[in-house]
Symmetry: C2
Subunit: 128 residues, 2 copies
């Protein structure tokens, strides 16, 4: 079955707690992961919570990357939602895992927008 | 099992194609759904693609709402990722479904950040 989008639900446990409370570091890592994947950045948004925790979301031409961090538990919820065949999700996930020093990871992939159309008729992303 | 976050993956098929290509309408509907849920808006981002399709993401104090629309297929991918017990995800999903006139819907819930901690020790969101 072909789908319009691929959504990777990534659970990162036992991360470096200091690092995942550092907005600059999270911003650098998330943006770099988008570049590694080959996706096109449209607009990034980062927000630091008080007393801890960061949300980072990057709107891309192919949908979005997001991360939410809970430094107090060493946990990050990382999502990659992309359309098209050209995005290297696995490289991006591996990169983020390594950078955040996550000792435990789980990855689930969900197909989004499963259509009753011949595969060749499906267009994944806008023309430009 | 208790988790830090609840993530609702909502597939909306056979939506009103014109409506889901109207950035103002999508912005109004997504922001209203956040309000209905009781979540606190921190920063919304909307982007219109050429020739069609809209991405809308709202960073909230409790994580995020996102929508990606494919008007050419009448399909929308809608996500609600929240932490805490006070958010009314179901009301928000029902509202978006009705507004977009989706004839077919599927909803999956994923627990995010499942921790090996006593339930009463889990804190869901920042103090303010």
């Amino acid at each position: 079955m072909k789908a319009l989008g691929r959504h990777f639900i990534v659970e990162l446990y036992e991360c470096d707690s200091e690092l995942i409370n550092d907005t600059d570091a999270i911003e650098d890592i998330l943006l770099e992961s988008v570049k590694i994947s080959g996706a096109e950045i449209i607009k990034p948004v980062f927000h630091k919570f008080n007393p801890h925790g960061i949300t980072g979301i990057v709107v891309i031409a192919e949908s979005h990357f997001s991360i939410h961090t809970w430094p107090e538990y060493g946990y990050c919820a990382f999502d990659i939602f992309t359309c098209g065949e050209s995005i290297d999700n696995e490289e991006a996930i591996q990169y983020v895992r390594n950078e955040l020093k996550a000792r435990t990871i789980s990855v689930a992939e969900i197909k989004r927008g499963v259509l009753n159309l011949p595969v060749e008729e499906i267009r994944y992303k806008p023309d430009e």
